[in-house]
Amino acid sequence: MTPSTGNGMAKRPGVPLIDGIEKVTGRARYTADLEHADALAGRIFRSPVSHGQIARLDVSKARALEGVVCVITGDDCPHTYGVLPVAMNEYPLARQRVRYRGEPVAAVAAVDAHTAERALDLIEFEVHDLPGYYTSAEARAPGATLLHEDRPGNLEREVHHQFGNLPAGFAAADLVREETISCAEVNHAQIEPHASLAEYDPLTGRLTVQSVSQVIYYLHLMLARCLEMDTSRIRIVKPFVGGGFGARVEVLNFEIITALLARAAGGRVITRLTREECFLTHRARPQTDIRLKLGMQRDGRLTACECEVVQRGGAYAGYGIVTILYAGALLQGIYDIPAIKYDGYRVYANLPPCGAMRGHGAVDTRHAFECLLDRMARELKLDPFSVRRANLLHAPTRTPNDLMVNSYGLADCLERVERASRWIDRVGRLQHGKGLGMACSHYVSGAAKPIHWTGEPHAVVNLRLDFDGCVTALTGAADIGQGSSTVVAIAVAETLGISLERVRVVAADTAITPKDNGAYSSRITFMVGNAAIDAARALKRILINAAASKLEARPEDIECVGEAFQIGAGSQSGLPFAEVVKTALVDRGPITVAGTFTCPPEAQGGKHRGGAVGSTMGFSYAALVVEVTVDEATGLISVDKVWTALDCGHAINPMAVEGQIEGSVWMGMGQALSEETRYVDGLPAHASLLEYRVPTIAESPPIEVHIVESHDPNGPFGAKEASEGALAGFAPALVNAVANAIGIDVNDLPVTPDRVMEALIERRRRERLGEVRRAAS
């Protein structure tokens, strides 16, 4: 791999995924593909009502059915689970009360799926109905029944943050505007449905679980908690995982249920969820109402920002506290805003629990912000690019809420997409119905403070080197398709100067690999990448010492040229890698080294309550331009082209970086145009991939990607994240493009043809009224 090309587009092509061949040949085994001919089939009985006190739950007939091996209920697990130690308010199987339609109540393991389903039909379940709340407003209304007794007002968490002098900020503004924007709830819709395979051996008391997790160590710990087992008796193995996007960054009820069934049955159980059940399991981006007020000077400089966010979080806590904190914290870290006030409300409602989804917490507020910024620029007759340029940060710096900004390539990103889209020549000059819009966004490269705060290093990689000369990297990090194992392999090979083929990655098996916090908050490249480099350096020191003793030279005189070790740069005869390994093994036998990475305390955010959320060692930055065609007869928007530039610090694997950017921009497009979960009295009306409208290839535009490399001082080889930062810019760029095309500002997501038509009809109505008034006067 050639060195970086400076602050330009990465010229290195990158490498295919190290596990790509398995995927394209069908050899890759995902959880449902694992050998399970002898396993029992697990099925879950789910609440048919949105909210109620359980009056009767009788599973005796189900238990008596031939072929049923066991039936479990909430009585079988008195322990709550959840991602945040302060907010574990959910049982794997409901106890006393159900709070959303589809909540697991009981589960069956039977000889086959059909029998298990018949057994579900025999379960008798009665509830005393409680009122169901399906909007934040209903749930927050005075006198509403509390979903959780300890949460008055049905508020999971209120956040009130203020930084800088807000009144002075607004007083200094030449223009103050406010918008109210609502974003629909969306779902990850990863293509692999949820599945879990658990095996319990009653003789040894050991439990092995293979599951679709992004966070196998959390799963390990949570199973120990819920099953009251010693952690040493549990093993979690991650098979191939078919996408995550946040769907699997917390332990999910079916994973615990499958383990409980396996123990009750004393054997193997596989639970495969239907697509409908995947939507019920949910944990995705909440429906969000945003009221945003910005102050701006004539030159486009922002003076103040006031933002209120209400998230309809669903029935249980999940990641909710983090989501509502992110929504406020990541108002910062992208532009220089002297005064910011944020009020966040995370609300309980009788719907499937929300959670983390790509761009966690930041996407909907960024949408509102970038839309309003554009509208104010328009009013002040400023170009959308110049209004962003007027508010750039200068790294290194700290934001008012104490987030570190160590590298900042946003100016370059703006430049790239402005030029590539020929913005200056084309904006405002396209035919009617066509428009250009732009927006910026950013995201963290790993949360600087881990959720499970133990004091351990934030990432650990082990390297093994034995007689065969293969360097095996052991990492607990979960590759879910984003290519993280490939990044680890590259980091090791690059640091050691050996060929990529010499490196093998063994990932995500709690019996073998070092503990890792998992695939969330885009942490793996930054943290695990750094740990991999650290480990490779340690191994290199050992090899250099071995080469030095063999060559009877001082270690500092040893040069590595490819896989050969030699004295001085110009020396002729070098020791081949295999010889050096042999010598090193003589000294100490098979070699294992550990590399670690930890974010220092000063990177872990402000001291205010919730100040750790949003903190990171490095933000990625993105700018996007979207070109649309709007059909005023149907309201249909076609996205013709997208240009995007992302500052990922340094592209360790440029091809994979491009893939991540394309995928995240496109996921933003789905949220912008068509994706929306819908409920009728708590019943999902969208729980299939036909009703939940993920864009198909037919309507997906070409996406031109520009990689900007700002060389982060702390990132591995200068790298930052690349998977999430570009997502949040899409929806506002699209809305801004629609405004540019037809002169209509649409406020709510998704921008469906219905909404565009409503806005067009409303404009015509107003125009007619205006004509009538003018005629009358």
């Binding site: 790509g20 394209v24 040949t25 059909h114 692999e192 191939f240 398709g481 995928g663 997906s700």
Partner: protein
């Protein structure tokens, strides 16, 4: 044998699977996807939805791309069924498989088998497809990772390999 198929009429099904004829006693209501995964052991055929929504189970039946999750196995009597596993010859991936690997047309890989089979059907009937042909042929296959950009590039790259 799943209990659900007990009592259902079974038939001797003769089908060519990945180039080899086989005979199996198959229930009349057995779906092709379950037959391929559970009986033939071809787990490269994926299930991503509750029926006909996502295209992950796409296989070829007599060269036509078909969603195996809404096709009865017995409808394939006497026909040639090909799955992702069948595209590999002597341990070597075919041109589409190779291109999807090299060009990152696969990320998580779950839609990949169906996507490649749909593309294979396209290339068999049109060796030089344009962008719009590719979009039309793959419009029944959802991918959540790639934004489809590199999928289109992969299919195009595969056509280059064949030349």
């Amino acid at each position: 044998m799943p209990l659900q198929n007990q009592g259902v009429q079974k038939r001797l099904l003769r089908m060519k699977v990945n180039g080899r004829w086989r005979e199996d006693a198959v229930a009349e209501n057995e779906l092709l996807v379950d037959f391929l995964r559970d009986i033939a052991g071809l787990t490269g055929v994926k299930i991503g939805c509750d029926g006909g929504e996502c295209g992950a189970c796409t296989v070829l039946v007599d060269d036509q791309a078909v969603p195996a999750c809404i096709t009865l196995a017995v409808r394939c009597e006497g026909r040639s069924v090909e799955t992702i596993e069948g595209l590999v010859a002597h341990g070597r991936p075919n041109r589409l498989q190779f291109a999807f690997h090299e060009k990152l047309g696969t990320q998580c890989g779950f839609c990949t088998p169906g996507m490649i089979m749909a593309a294979e059907a396209l290339l068999r009937r049109n060796p030089n497809p344009g962008d719009q042909d590719i979009r039309a042929a793959l419009s029944g296959n959802l991918c959540r990772c790639t934004g489809y950009v590199k999928i289109i590039e992969s299919v195009k790259a595969a056509t280059e390999i064949s030349r």
